[in-house]
Subunit: 285 residues, 2 copies
């Protein structure tokens, strides 16, 4: 990786299937100046390969290795930083296929996730007994990883809770409380995982922005110069905070997302970007 | 209701199908002294009628009207205290049939709950659109009521979240984080409802112990003299706190549950019962 980098929230590139103006040209301009690009996202339901397809579909040049999602962040953290001794490094997944694909990409064993065996109602009382006595548990599970799960249910939560009660490490891809969709808000990863968090009474280590565990995971993969890296994003409390906490050389707010100019220009604003533009394409001048 | 009363957590009577020693005799002794008995429970999955059957099965005399569960508490609160004008008083239920039965007993209209139409995966993107634009919503829903739900899923949480975003009153039968079952802990009502709480970013009004809204609901049904009422329970942070906060004349801890002698005898203990016995039957002397 070159010493000058731009970390960029994927959300500043497009909304749904709508590409913001001059995005492709702006990225090419940055590349032409020798900037290494890293596309960062807290969305745990899609893998880097899924994102590559989306970039291709929208006609933007990008490589799989330039994408850094919270699922991949979690996989890198588990494989390269946590690095529990096999076979006790198996992960119980609360989440979708994006999580599974990234764990596979790092060679991390897992169960749960999209496995249809867990997509059913809990049976009373036999499941309670079999979770309690361990018959329904895998003794090699040493980690519970929670991400946005559109198939969350009581059975999976109860099993994950039992693994945590037995000492498993508790991680989350990200803890965003809401998911903006269809012009309103839906439950986010922090919500779909909140049942487990409430039951166990403590928060997971999050591998998504603004957690610096994600920055550590980025460093676990790339070697980059934080002072020569700029974080570009449209949410103050995740993207910009992520860059500030990571002591990056620059933070740039883009006003195409939820955060607005008045949010950081207001007196007493706690998260203030070093610069801002209305749209990413404004960097073209 | 007589002026001298005993409010008693149902959990001090039995564990599963095992009745604690001398329970029937102790209750008869209290009745013979003219005490009005009220059996209080935070379990929202069972109705008062369900509990009456359990009392009968275990050979203990009790009337339906003596049982006061958190589902009934919520129904009484909605019908007699909140009392929203019809037709905008419909309840969207996250919970089991105990909640539905008690809402029916108080004549409160509801949707959701055990309705099979809500027990399915969310469909992307059509459900997101139809929740957002209101096609999947009932305009008469003015209240969301969250209880322990063994069939919790993303679809129901997303719909409830949308009702709350549109201004519905947010209630919970109870917010216990865990459910003791099969000699271990499972997710409780506070956990199964935590996804919604995290998404909306605020807590519901709980109608279970130790919330004084439950005490208000008890008063909404009975007229009793708080100074001549004793709360009997086995959990300090729910039962005993409930009695203390309600300024009842007495609080009696029973050591057959999770709370132990050392919990309230320890220096700095915040919730201290006025008296304690090893088992309820010890009241027989």
């Amino acid at each position: 990786m070159s010493s000058s980098s731009t970390a960029m929230r994927i959300g500043v590139l497009w909304s749904g299937d709508h590409l913001y103006p001059k995005v492709a040209e702006t990225l090419e301009m940055l590349r032409s100046k020798g900037k290494q690009l890293v596309f960062v996202t807290n969305n745990s339901t899609k893998s880097r390969a899924d994102y590559k397809k989306k970039f291709d579909k929208l006609g933007i040049r990008a490589e799989v290795d330039e994408v850094f999602g919270s699922s991949y962040s979690a996989a890198v953290y588990i494989a390269r930083i946590l690095n529990l001794p096999a076979p006790k490094n198996k992960v119980f997944v609360l989440g979708e296929s994006g999580v599974e694909q990234e764990l596979e990409s790092e060679g991390v064993p897992y169960i749960g996730g999209t496995d249809a065996a867990y997509r059913r109602d809990i049976r009373v009382p036999e499941d309670f007994d079999n979770i309690s006595n361990g018959n329904m548990l895998d003794p090699d599970v040493g980690i519970v990883l929670s991400g946005l799960d559109f198939h969350s249910n009581y059975l999976k939560t109860a099993i994950a809770f039992q693994y945590l009660q037995r000492g498993a490490v508790y991680l989350a891809t990200n803890i965003d409380s809401t998911l903006p969709m269809s012009h309103t808000l839906f439950p986010g990863a922090g919500a779909s995982g909140a049942a487990l968090e409430r039951a166990i009474g403590r928060a997971p280590l999050s591998l998504g922005k603004p957690s610096q565990a994600m920055m550590d995971a980025v460093e676990g993969k790339f070697r980059f110069d934080r002072r020569r890296t700029c974080m570009v994003g449209d949410r103050l409390n995740t993207d910009i905070q992520f860059g500030i906490d990571g002591e990056l050389g620059g933070t740039l707010a883009v006003l195409t997302g939820v955060s607005k100019e008045e949010d950081f220009l207001a007196e007493g604003a706690t998260t203030v970007p070093m610069a801002y533009v209305n749209t990413l394409g404004d960097l073209m001048g």
